[in-house]
Amino acid sequence: MTSSDALAGHTFEELSDYLDRDRTPADPSIDGSPECQTALSGMQRLRRTHRDLLLKDVQLEAEREDSWVTSILQHISLEARAGRDIPISHPSPTARVSVTEGAVRGILRAAGDSVPNIIVGRCRLDGDVTAPGAPVTVRVDATVLQGEIIASLADQLRDALYAALRQHTELAVESVDITIRDLYQIPVPAGESEQ
């Protein structure tokens, strides 16, 4: 993450350090930023998942490739930015009600993380989300635990994403496109593969 990618003035590393310090001492520039809070929530969920996977790995006494975790962490920070304002209808002529694109990407990620054995990477909303009724395509990249049935997991993920979008937005979602970019592999311990 370059300095120009910083989220509300904070780099991914600074946010990660803040989590490591259990958010102490309190930093009002982080605590007062909804974008930072969204990023921190996503990072926390990923850490939990990663910890569970690590535990499985330790049990198998195996080594494992970690670059995908770093990649996802960086996406979390980048996508937590407020982005565009997505309108929410209200009958009053003086009302201007909206939800930020960053908040929506945050709940998409949270919905995805609720599906076991799949981890959401990049989330994108393609289309003019600022225009009520305009068609929008949601594009999501994900990592799946090897051995899982990809089609079935993708269906579960799609259902979870649609449900979150229906609950929190009025977006006219034309499609939810899911691409499985990585398989997370828990290596088979030496000797077991020879059986």
Binding site: S33, E35, S92, A103, H168
Partner: protein, 126 residues
């Protein structure tokens, strides 16, 4: 909104927006599903304001308003902006509309001047 706390009205057109912003902070936070209230001002401005308010409070001993709802008096009427966090079991659509309606109700109760705009932004859903 029926479950909003009863608040003391401010004098309409008194030119004292601080008490009104404090009232609206309370009203917004009382809406079910709102779990955070962020400054409607840009982050840097908000942080500087918080630091100044904290310093003033430490030096003078007098509490300084740290309200988050922004209220501006324009020619066309009050311009109100609020940025909220919503807790996930609640739908952001419903919560944001209720926040708008709660602000409207409070302004009506106060007999405040005309409203030009009430902007409610859901900035985080957790």
């Amino acid at each position: 909104m029926s479950d909003a706390p009863a608040l003391k009205p401010v004098t309409p057109g008194s030119g004292t927006p601080a008490p009104l912003t404090d009232q609206l902070d309370e009203v917004v936070l009382a809406v079910p599903g709102v779990d955070a209230l962020y400054s409607a001002a840009p982050l840097l401005v908000a942080v500087v304001a918080t630091v100044i308010a904290t310093t003033v409070e430490a030096v003078t001993g007098e509490p300084k308003s740290k309200s988050s709802v922004s209220v501006k008096e324009k020619k066309s009427g009050l311009q109100i902006a609020v940025k909220i966090g919503v807790t996930a079991p609640y739908a952001a659509i419903d919560v944001s509309r209720r926040v708008h309606d709660a602000i409207t109700e409070q302004l009506d109760q106060n007999g405040s001047q005309d409203v030009a705009e009430i902007a409610v932004t859901v900035a985080r859903i957790d």
